[in-house]
């Protein structure tokens, strides 16, 4: 067997099996490029830009007044251009329970709960499944790297095929052209993003370095590798802290007026309390690693982080993945290339299907069902989440969880439909396209009816393209789905489906 043949087998099966999981990761990652824009869309209080007067001290005063447990740490981030509000998170000491709040810049009170744009980011890196999810995503990333490399080896005419698209050709040829087109357009991007993606969690995925060179002492590893600072608890109650504003002014001055990022207060009720301030600099790919650590009681500067070259290289790679640099143009480019990745996956399963449909191959109905369940299920679930965000009353308790249920139930409904109708794929596709169109086109309308400051005419009149962009993309997606549903013939002779006999034939899968 030649190298190309063995790589073709590896590419076909190593690519097909994780393709639905990879679609979830790529699609959620594409949306996560615009997490802060979606977050603003999902929080009506932020629709009309206002310059709030809240300070870091107001945020910690709110925390002291509302959370009475002893805290292990709390962290906050001030308003930025894309996220114009204070956000706060904390962890309780004994129970390790975490909480968070986002503050309305007009009132200084927490805004109604929502999962926000963060939902898509979390879905992207751990499938909303915690640590096991993070490992599953990492393994999927490795499958993607192997599929990209083996796909490149399989490809006979990488350059020539790049200019070939024959949508009117027979099914398999057209799907293969599309798979090649999107695969080759995105190849450098997909290679870099898959590699930097697994690299972000390298210390979890590959503990060998810490084990061998630091004797498995994680604290020593993190201190030396990050050049960071940590002070152990003294088990004495803390004296009253100095105001944060003084420390922040000092940090700003040391950095020549730079914007500030995360502010972290470690064990605030202990005499050892430390305030660390990070710099926020979206003009750089890698986030600056020169955090300042202050004594929370005296305000004395204890330490300035000096990250070794290796760690700065790591943050550069992570920054390349996270797309927090360079402004909206970079994020739009990332978004488009992410969509190209999704299209590559969809077309890849299309090639697999068309090749086997003609021969009533095994697994055709299953792959079709999974395609419908995931390639339609996830986008429709995301739309259901946005609908829930607009329709659920603001006073509802556990409102974020209710949004999550809308997402999950929406997805389950589509998955059941797709599996139930897997033998009538044309009807299934047409129905799901029409449903997507309805949900996507309905959202800007609903927005217009319920959001006085956030609807499309209002945001466009303000020149607020970040907010208007969400509605505009929904309109474009809805129109595209409606057009495709309209153009599709009701039920063509797509009945070349596996018969009972075809499924049972003990023929080896080819």
């Amino acid at each position: 067997m030649t190298l190309r043949q063995s790589m073709a087998g590896l590419h076909t099966w190593g690519g097909l099996l994780p393709s639905w999981l990879l679609f979830v990761i790529l699609f959620a990652g594409t949306l996560a490029c615009f997490d802060k824009e979606l977050e603003r869309w999902m929080r009506p209080a932020l629709h009309e830009p206002v310059a709030g007067s809240m300070t870091a001290d107001d945020v910690s005063a709110w925390l002291r007044a509302n959370v009475h447990e002893t805290l292990h740490a709390y962290w906050m981030h001030g308003p930025t251009e894309r996220a114009p509000y204070w956000k706060l998170g904390w962890e309780e000491d004994a129970s390790e329970v975490r909480g968070k709040a986002a503050f309305d810049p007009r009132t200084g009170e927490p805004m109604p709960e929502t999962v926000g744009g963060d939902f898509f980011f979390t879905l992207h890196y751990n499938l909303q499944a915690g640590t096991p999810g993070m490992y599953i995503v990492g393994l999927a990333g490795m499958f993607m790297l192997v599929a990209l490399v083996s796909g490149t080896i399989v490809h006979r005419r990488l350059f020539k095929d790049f200019f070939t698209l024959r949508p009117q050709a027979n099914g398999q040829r057209a799907w293969l052209d599309a798979h090649n087109l999107f695969g080759v357009i995105g190849l450098p991007f997909h290679l870099v993003l898959a590699y930097t993606g697994v690299a972000v969690f390298v210390s979890f995925y590959m503990p060998a370095g810490a084990k061998v060179a630091y004797g498995g002492d994680p604290l020593a590893f993190f201190h030396e590798v990050q050049g960071g600072y940590h002070r152990n608890e003294l088990d004495r109650p803390a004296e009253p802290p100095v105001p944060l504003s003084g420390l922040l002014a000092d940090a700003r001055q040391r950095w020549g007026g730079a914007e500030l990022g995360w502010i972290v207060v470690e064990h605030p009720s202990d005499a050892s309390a430390v305030v660390s301030v990070r710099r926020f600099d979206p003009s750089r790919i890698g986030a600056p690693q020169d955090a300042l650590s202050y004594d929370a009681t005296t305000g004395e500067l204890l330490h300035q982080q000096q990250a070794p070259a290796g760690y700065r290289a790591y943050t550069w790679l992570a920054g390349l993945h996270m797309a927090q640099f360079g402004g909206q143009l970079v994020r739009i480019l990332y978004g488009l290339l992410g969509l190209a990745g999704c299209a590559m996956l969809v077309a890849g399963t299309g090639v697999w299907l068309r090749k086997r449909e003609a021969r009533d191959g095994r697994g055709v109905a299953l792959v079709r069902g999974l395609n419908g369940a995931v390639f339609f299920g996830l986008p429709i679930a995301c739309l259901a989440l946005l609908w829930a965000n607009r329709l659920l009353p603001e006073t509802l308790s556990a409102r974020g969880a209710a949004e999550g249920w809308a997402f999950s139930l929406g997805w389950m409904a589509v998955a059941l439909l797709a599996l139930g109708w897997r033998r009538t794929p044309a009807r299934l596709t047409r129905t799901l396209l029409a449903l997507s169109a309805l949900l996507a086109l309905g959202l800007p309308v609903l927005n217009g009816l319920t959001m006085p400051d956030g609807h499309l005419p209002a945001s466009l009149a303000r020149g607020d393209l970040a907010l208007a962009g969400v509605d505009l993309v929904l309109l474009a997606v809805g129109a595209l789905c409606a057009w495709r549903a309209w153009r599709r013939k009701p039920e063509p002779r797509d009945a070349s489906l596996p018969t009972e006999a075809g499924v049972r034939t003990p023929e080896l899968s080819r």
């Binding site: 490795m142 060998a208 370095g209 060179a213 030396e224 290796g310």
Partner: protein, 98 residues
């Protein structure tokens, strides 16, 4: 092209496990080895070795399917992983030098 139909089932299972387990084992041994022997300061050694390990795993997975047989793939990947890992972990005091 019928890539897998001609392969015996056990041979395929051998290649898959070599790509997954042997590949990870090699990446682990590689990271341990270069975290010790790279001529850099300790934090930089560890970061450079760790960040490169995914490329090693990808190469190993491709090799597991390109190799002449599953047994050979296991022999090469497992052997290399063992040698690199032992050389890394048995380097005594030297492995924790700053």
């Amino acid at each position: 092209m019928i890539p897998f139909a001609s392969l015996e089932r056990w041979s395929l299972a051998g290649r898959i496990s070599a790509a997954l387990l042997g590949g990870y084992g090699l990446a682990y041994g590689f990271t341990a080895f270069f975290s010790v022997y790279l001529p850099l300061a300790r934090p930089d050694r560890v970061v450079v070795a760790s960040l490169s390990c995914f490329a090693v795993w990808v190469a190993a997975a491709v090799y597991a399917f390109a190799a002449r047989s599953a047994g050979r793939a296991w022999l090469v990947l497992g052997g290399l992983a063992l040698v690199l890992g032992l050389a890394g972990f048995l380097s005594g005091e030297w492995r924790t030098r700053p």
